[in-house]
């Protein structure tokens, strides 16, 4: 397959890549794993003069867990490295599971979590769990709260030439748990119809605090704010969760497309809100 002609350079540092992106503007395409960029190049949906690969930048693929703080995921850590990392699996299993939900082994071995969120697809599998965990995105310029990151379909708050260096995920403390569940037609290699993530802090039977977010039902991944409000401060019961799940479905703004109708998406958000919340309860830290 012939692609339009472009030059290629492997950046030596993130700052060098950022400089090129600033000076060339739209003529420059930043590429990490390339699993989103390559199909766009091939279909001529982007026509850069220069493709700048981040893959050869040293030290950007670190995955580190610090007890008392949390997990630092370098922008070049692949989804496969993240899902296989004992540091992630032991401390933030839902993050490993979300990474594993993406596509197939071949895509995960090249694709990155940073690329997944920068691409800003409304159904990006790693977005929801990062949102409920209160992740922070460290860029070449600043620290961004994940809640401020997504601005629309394929739109983020990143400025031109601003690149992601690291994703920070706070650790789960005692009494806290989280889960992400995806609903797709095929188990593998299929974009989510919808996905729902939950984070909860329990105080005995009481829901001390919680966050819920869903993907695939709006222009960005969204918080289920009404559902969260309904759950907070109450004693957990199946009936309470069902009420909250109905509110989560009401928070959703799904569209109909080839994957599913809007009605079906809303109803699946109700179902998966419950399942992901229960998953969070199953994984409470002692």
């Amino acid at each position: 397959m012939t692609m339009p002609s472009f030059d290629f350079v492997a950046a030596k540092s993130l700052d060098q890549a950022a400089e090129m992106a600033v000076s060339l503007g739209g003529k420059c395409q930043i590429m990490a794993g390339g699993t989103d960029v390559m199909p766009l190049l091939r279909d001529r949906l982007i026509r850069p003069e220069l493709v700048v690969s981040l893959r050869e930048i040293p030290g950007l693929d670190k995955i580190e867990f610090k007890p008392g703080e949390g997990l630092r995921i370098g922008a070049l850590a692949t989804l496969d490295q993240i899902q296989a990392s004992p540091a992630v699996r032991d401390n933030l299993p839902a993050v490993a599971e979300a990474a594993h939900y993406v596509a197939s082994k071949q895509i995960r071995c090249k694709g990155t979590m940073a690329g997944n969120i920068c691409n800003a697809s409304p159904s990006a599998d790693t977005a929801c769990i990062l949102i409920v965990m209160g992740a922070k995105i460290l860029t070449t310029k600043r620290e961004i709260q994940i809640g401020d990151f997504f601005k629309g379909v394929k739109k983020t708050c990143l400025e031109p030439g601003e690149l992601v260096r690291e994703i920070f995920v706070p650790e789960l403390k005692s009494g806290e748990g989280s889960g992400y569940l995806k609903h797709a037609v095929r188990k593998a290699m299929d974009l989510a119809i919808i996905g729902v993530a939950s984070w909860v802090r329990m105080d005995g039977q009481k829901i001390a605090d919680c966050r819920m977010a869903f993907g695939g039902a709006g222009v960005t991944p969204l918080r289920a704010l009404q559902a969260e409000k309904h759950l907070k401060g109450k004693t957990y019961s199946e009936a309470l969760l069902e009420e909250a799940a109905v509110l989560a479905a009401a928070d959703a703004k799904p569209i109909s497309d080839v994957r599913a109708s809007a009605e079906y998406r809303s109803d699946m958000i109700r179902v998966y809100a419950k399942r992901s919340f229960k998953r969070a309860l199953e994984t409470l830290r002692s």
């Binding site: 397959m1 012939t2 692609m3 339009p4 002609s5 472009f6 030059d7 290629f8 492997a10 794993g33 390339g34 699993t35 390559m38 199909p39 190049l41 091939r42 493709v51 690969s53 893959r55 050869e56 496969d80 596509a103 197939s104 082994k105 071949q106 895509i107 071995c109 090249k110 188990k187 593998a188 290699m189």
Partner: protein
């Protein structure tokens, strides 16, 4: 536009010029004359183009040839060991795990990568490892069986 690249291909060093806008699939087939790597969907969905990049399976249709610089690439042509079929290849033959054969190179690469990472996979782990490899012919059962048998024969070899 062309760029000079240096990398390892199936165990041998290669130094050549590659078009900057060519995918690894096309570079291997057209420039390296290695046609075992298949060109299927060209969008990362089918796995027919799977190769090993630093011993990890990747879709070569989603990779630029220039990304190989400084890395190690293994294609289906580099899977044989000492002139003998790799145990995964042998079991694909013995268990009739192929019909038309179009998916086979990619399947075998995925299986070899799996067994290097996880020498005794469960059936679910095998199926997960080849979830990105589509086969129109076999219905997968024979493929899963062949990979399981290869795992066993490899563990006997080590023991």
């Amino acid at each position: 536009m062309k760029k000079a690249i240096k990398f390892m291909l199936n165990g041998d060093p290669v130094e050549t010029l590659a078009d900057t806008n060519v995918t690894m699939t096309d570079f291997l087939r057209r420039d390296m004359h290695l046609t075992g790597t298949k060109r299927g969907c060209e969008e990362g969905e089918c796995g027919a183009c799977t190769i090993l990049l630093d011993r990890r399976p990747v879709a070569s249709c989603l990779m630029l040839a220039t990304e190989a610089e400084g890395h190690e690439i293994v294609t289906i042509e580099g899977i044989m060991e000492d002139g003998k079929l790799h145990p995964v290849q042998r079991q694909f033959v013995e268990k009739w795990a192929l019909q038309c054969g179009f998916c086979t190179p990619g399947m075998i690469i995925s299986a070899v990568a799996l067994l290097e990472e996880n020498p005794s996979p469960t059936e679910a782990e095998i199926r997960d490892a080849i979830a990105g490899n589509l086969c129109r012919c076999t219905g997968y059962a024979k493929i899963v069986e062949a990979i399981g048998a290869a795992a066993e024969s490899l563990s006997r070899k080590v023991a």
